[in-house]
Chain length 439, copies 2
Amino acid sequence: MNKGFENVKGTYDYLPEKQIIREKIKTVLQSVFIKYGFAPVETPIICMYDLLASKYSEGADILNEMYKLSDQGQRKLGLRYDLTITFSKLISSNPNITLPFKRYEIGKVYRDGPVKLGRNREFTQCDVDVVGVKSMMAEAEYMMMTTEAYKKLGIDIEIEFNNRKLLSGIIMMTLGNISDDVLRKSIMLIDKFAKLTRKELVVEFEKMGISEDKLEELFEILNLDYGSLKERLSKSDSELISEGLSEIDELYAYLAGSKALENMKFAPYLARGIDIYTGTVWEIFVKGRKVANQDFNLSIGGGGRYDKIITTFIDDGNEYPAVGMSFGLDVIYEILVLKDTDKKVSTVDLYVIPFGTSVESFNFVSKLRDAGVKVDIDKSDKKLKKSMNYANKMNIPFVIVLGEDEVASNTVKIKDMDAGTESSFSLDDIEGIKKYIEN
Amino acid sequence: MNKGFENVKGTYDYLPEKQIIREKIKTVLQSVFIKYGFAPVETPIICMYDLLASKYSEGADILNEMYKLSDQGQRKLGLRYDLTITFSKLISSNPNITLPFKRYEIGKVYRDGPVKLGRNREFTQCDVDVVGVKSMMAEAEYMMMTTEAYKKLGIDIEIEFNNRKLLSGIIMMTLGNISDDVLRKSIMLIDKFAKLTRKELVVEFEKMGISEDKLEELFEILNLDYGSLKERLSKSDSELISEGLSEIDELYAYLAGSKALENMKFAPYLARGIDIYTGTVWEIFVKGRKVANQDFNLSIGGGGRYDKIITTFIDDGNEYPAVGMSFGLDVIYEILVLKDTDKKVSTVDLYVIPFGTSVESFNFVSKLRDAGVKVDIDKSDKKLKKSMNYANKMNIPFVIVLGEDEVASNTVKIKDMDAGTESSFSLDDIEGIKKYIEN
């Protein structure tokens, strides 16, 4: 009887059929991160409560959703809710670290919040950040890395991007003299420009005391492509606007002629919600917002420049400009599953079933493993049919039944489980068997 | 000013120099696990308290050292203290899982206990288990897999092994009619046979009411090699002893002539502490108990057969025989560091320093990356010397300085940072540069 133990809400078991795909995603991402000069780090999941409570201005939400605990020494602790907080801590505790510091971390984070599609309580973040680079070359590198990573994962993407300086400049130019608070709220609202109707936006702006007539020009600009927008703003005397435009121009200069550029779409309304960003921001979507003919509007990654947060966190008089992004492991997994619903996966290529020859079979399998073949051996005393069924259920592509006759004649037959065909090999022809299986 | 945030006691940041080695260990282990037919799973770190409290007879200790927490819904939760508990849960919640089920999991576990060398509060376990196999072929597979894994990690090992049925049988035969409790305590005591003096052992046994004269035969047998022990016990009518001996014989039969056998040492006193084992047990040590001329007595892995625990946990009338082992990631890391104290590591092979040519350099680097070269580019406006220093500090083996002259002449010089030599290549000769760097 199942004792009825359940997983904590919003946490999951990943059985091999799922985990094999998740591991594949991690391996692809890691190899691309490394190629672009990011090195791995690992930071703790349990942290001092004070560290976790120190970071965000939107602290209240984070604090409510933080899992809190204490140890036997009654210290106040918590589980990390993102990897940026432990990354900031790592930089601040290593004052002699060589900058620029480029790291990636793939690790679990925790939020005790509402559970829905794409939002779990325990989930894995893949974060890639650089500290100590002012040049837009950093952003250009992220665009190219993103393009390569998703290409290797077989996912066509679209990268929406913007610049927060430009966005702030446009808002202040069009809405006139507004408070920091209204600016901040306007940014968060405009972030939903593509999702809300014009009417809904107007209603929300009116709640902040901004009348519809003032929004006309703003909305018009937000609908422009980059060329037209640049022309339109060419006579602006806003420093934010000119800095924003020049940063975008610099980014374009690095990306000229690259494959990344083909995926990029300027989105002057994009803010990426979170307060911390100070320059470039981007958000990644599946191209055409469809996977296997189903709508797929979830963001599958994104990032931006945040020049102030680590600077403020460390507060030693130096500047710590930073750019970082996240790849969504869970959402990428969902896409790969939707795309390949029929694909069977097995980690081994061959299954050897002994038939009265367990020691000989075990030796045979050992030789195959020494040669690098991924192979498993039946260890039951089951009927042959049951063992064949097992190989079938596990989707193992090739099977060898090794009976006394095979040992005596020094010959084995490899059964191709998909094709239903059989091929004969000498029992000693390890290399031949390996070649046949791996082709 | 560093704000003074500290890590929770017994938890650590792993900077790239460490993490690169840890990732390498994981990669090696995973590839070997997969070759032997074990597939990856992932289970939650936060679990229901009742699940975590359900497992061990030595529950009190575990419960004290468990990190406990609750969520916003006031559910009682805890952090897992090992991977066996979530593995048992996974098997029990998937009653239709295909057996034998072979999985590995590499994940973090938590124990709020004393911190010392080899014992942290947050640590990573690498567990490899199979459920549903009675045959000693399972154990034989573990011995071969262990041998291959440590060989690939460059660590010479010794595997001490024993059989718990044999050990129990010997104790009951020599000490006579003893209670289950005394048997259990005797096993735990004898587990320290190689560490305690004879006198210390006698004192401890006397506390249990067992006098020295009864211990004579026991101690004598525990000093025998397998051949002599088998002969000595050949006339025993203990069923436990004969089962234990026949299991060891079966294991030897599978391993005859293998490399694994050369590493194995029969240790009739070995129990592996933990109560759960029912048959074969083994513990892995560095050969000669020395690393880089320093004593190294810590166990670096181990495992055993536990036929009862999942059976009891699931309690559905079926048997769930199981064998499993752990590889100690943290301790393996310590060994590799001790062995290669001088070894410098960099994840990239080449560093390109633009000198007034940032766009051209960025394009050059992009081409190298497209060709698969692991390369980074200097993004500062630093003086050349500072950029060279950076490459040096990061231990990057090759450097290219790309100035306007190099662009004009379409030629680059690759500096070998170790040898101090330079080699010239055409700027377009991406394949030539790749080949040179990767050799």
